[in-house]
Subunit: 242 residues, 2 copies
Amino acid sequence: MLPAQPNQSLIDGLTVIQALAMRDAPVGCRELARETGIELTKVNRLLKTLAHIGLARQNPGRKYITGPGIHVLASQALHGSGLLKTAFDPLEKLSQLNLIVALGVLWRDQVSYLYFRTPGTSAAQAIGSLGLFPASQSSIGMVTLAGMEMEEVKSLYAGKVIPGYENSQALFFKEVQKTREQGYGLVYRDDTKETSMAVAVGMPLVGAIALSGRMKNNEQNTYLKILKNIAKEITERLEKNL
Amino acid sequence: MLPAQPNQSLIDGLTVIQALAMRDAPVGCRELARETGIELTKVNRLLKTLAHIGLARQNPGRKYITGPGIHVLASQALHGSGLLKTAFDPLEKLSQLNLIVALGVLWRDQVSYLYFRTPGTSAAQAIGSLGLFPASQSSIGMVTLAGMEMEEVKSLYAGKVIPGYENSQALFFKEVQKTREQGYGLVYRDDTKETSMAVAVGMPLVGAIALSGRMKNNEQNTYLKILKNIAKEITERLEKNL
DNA sequence: TGTAATGTTGCTATATTAGCAACAAATGCT
DNA sequence: AGCATTTGTTGCTAATATAGCAACATTACA
């Protein structure tokens, strides 16, 4: 439902901190303006406002980075979300498979990872460790897109080049459709020979969990079953929270 | 530095989601307006805007709760913050003391907990599990307030009743000053006979870690030393991230 | 040294917000 | 049940804040 007096400044301002928070290095306001599609002057002033309340900061070269307030926002959002808390222990079980274990959500046309655990690392290192990844090249991204209306997906990519499908948007939409029908996301990367599979989490969908790594064809079904079970467990635990 | 065109809508809008995210039950817009001190109509319209972008939602009784977008915001803020990831393993070490272990940050005059672990529970359950607690009654709150300018602290509590110091603001400010001088926060709760101690984390300060529970006087120094060591470790690890 | 990029702001027409007052719906109380 | 509050919500218009071009100083790069 669209409000009586919608507030575009709030929407744009949120987009700006979110874009800023995902960066691992200082960013300029012009670059953020290009990335977000928001007019430059506006971005600059929103950043200055964010800096004023401590959510952003400027380094000596006047580039922007997140400020101390981001810890507070993280704390609050984490509490309001509860997704990481709920999924943490179930995901722990997956880590013994010696594959990458991930929990991600969709932001614009990219996947943001709440949890990304590489084999051999501690669970702590998995928390918010990975930044953004193009949704079209991610199994989590595909299964999350598959949970949206096709029109939404199309408007999300309107006028954009789709990573991994540079020559054919149609092929990409077909792939999304296929993902929807089979109920899980599957991406194979040729260069690393790695397979990623993802299953949606939440009812309605709030994100997805994934397993990724080199796996043989006959192992895939086993992994998929395990993944689906964990996804179901997380979804059920989410219901209980509310 | 205050910007050329500061954006109050963004500031207020952020305040509203933050307040909303900390609630464990649905809240009305009028209640949020009272809590935040923002004019009612504005809060209502900001909430509707937040609902429009998925950060908020209305339940059947038209009360507001966080929406699915909060998971995305949590993911992004968590990545931008890095505090939980950095502190997680060091905090794990503290859990074997059989005391409550907490990591909190200051929001307005309250403490928001990134991590709050009760003895006997899993680390996962500690993630963003506890909502808000009055800073004046929290060791984390006291040590964080002690890291601020006294003027800031006073303006934070201007015209308010200070929880735990209902009869004397002066006594509270004295306590803050004492906390600053001794370099750690100490709070004793008479009803439960529990002691809480907290040490600041980050340089400059971004939050604090705490130990809490029943402890004998002669144990306090030992615990304090351990706590200081862990705080130092976390602070150093934070430096390395940037 | 020149060229192109960057962060930043002054300016004013324009669009947006502020916030009172009013409304209907829900809730609490008797 | 009925009355009195309290709630979420919006219409309205004066007052305000924003949009965004163009320009500036500064920095990176050739």
